[in-house]
Symmetry: C2
Subunit: 211 residues, 2 copies
Amino acid sequence: MAEQKKISIAVIRRLPRYFRYLYDLMKLDIKRISSKELSDRMCITASQIRQDLNCFGGFGQQGYGYNVESLYEQIGKILGTDKRFACIIVGAGNMGTALANYENFKRRGFDILAIFDVDTNKIHTRINGIEILPMEELEDFVEKHKVDIAMLTVPNRIISEVAKRVTGAGVKGIWNFSPTDLRLGDDVVVENVHLSDSLMVLGYRLREKGY
Amino acid sequence: MAEQKKISIAVIRRLPRYFRYLYDLMKLDIKRISSKELSDRMCITASQIRQDLNCFGGFGQQGYGYNVESLYEQIGKILGTDKRFACIIVGAGNMGTALANYENFKRRGFDILAIFDVDTNKIHTRINGIEILPMEELEDFVEKHKVDIAMLTVPNRIISEVAKRVTGAGVKGIWNFSPTDLRLGDDVVVENVHLSDSLMVLGYRLREKGY
């Protein structure tokens, strides 16, 4: 990232959304778009869009707008879609299975190499072609395949223990689906997916509207 | 909400996290906590915490801190956990099954009444006690049970059609798990769960650290 100036995490969190929209535009064979049009589609103000995109160089041209494909590529580059990440899933329950079946992840640079579970009935079966391996093989696998990211979908009562095991073996990125906010030291990056937080915000917004 | 002043959506989006932390503190039988201690646990600055909590009345007392239980109850009230929401899941795949098995939702006020799917092999079977019903019964069920929220875990190619059907039948809240950002008019509240957005942010943060 040496060539880029630091982009705030708030902007970064909005980039995947631009990325999705631009991908859809490309599929529709749309070559260029103004910040105004993008604004209408995304329900973000045009000035916010210009400000966000200016953060990494601003490719918009007065009277022309943005070149969809080059903006898509540039955002992909910032987000690291040109890099591949070696991932594992720990926990072959419904959530783990749902993740293993997401076709999007591979296209975005995330290769799921294996799934780990304690259930002996599941060991050596496959989900979407990805083999389920026993927990005993976790550390060896992580070291051998230089796993970057562990997607943790295990029950909450064992989440801390599992997080310690994967990071102890060298994993630097944790995608955490448990309700526990994991804190694993400064050299580990954790993204928490708290589904019920999102649901509670939905409930709040409904109440606010008087429903 | 007439009795409350308007709280910004940015603060609202942080409240579920306070709510979870306070719940954990209650389970540990901790009666009171200072903004400093809460700050250390949550990795949010103490001043941000004071500012957030001040938005709805500020219960902290100098030299005493916050009463954990009353703060928990107050935040729950703001988030609407004292109200119950009637919910359905559309799509009985892995994600729908995972959601049906979340025990947290009921405790937070969200009752899942039924699951809808097109798969005739699944109709009238149950997930976590919740019956799977055929899509033909969707509209009647929504009207009869005054369904507030539809959790949509259907394939992306039919998401717009399904969203139209549930909102046409009276649903006001959509919890959308597809990659499509749904726009359904001002009287419908949509919360989108874009899992791959979160994963891309994780990838960015790893790259930024030089991994």
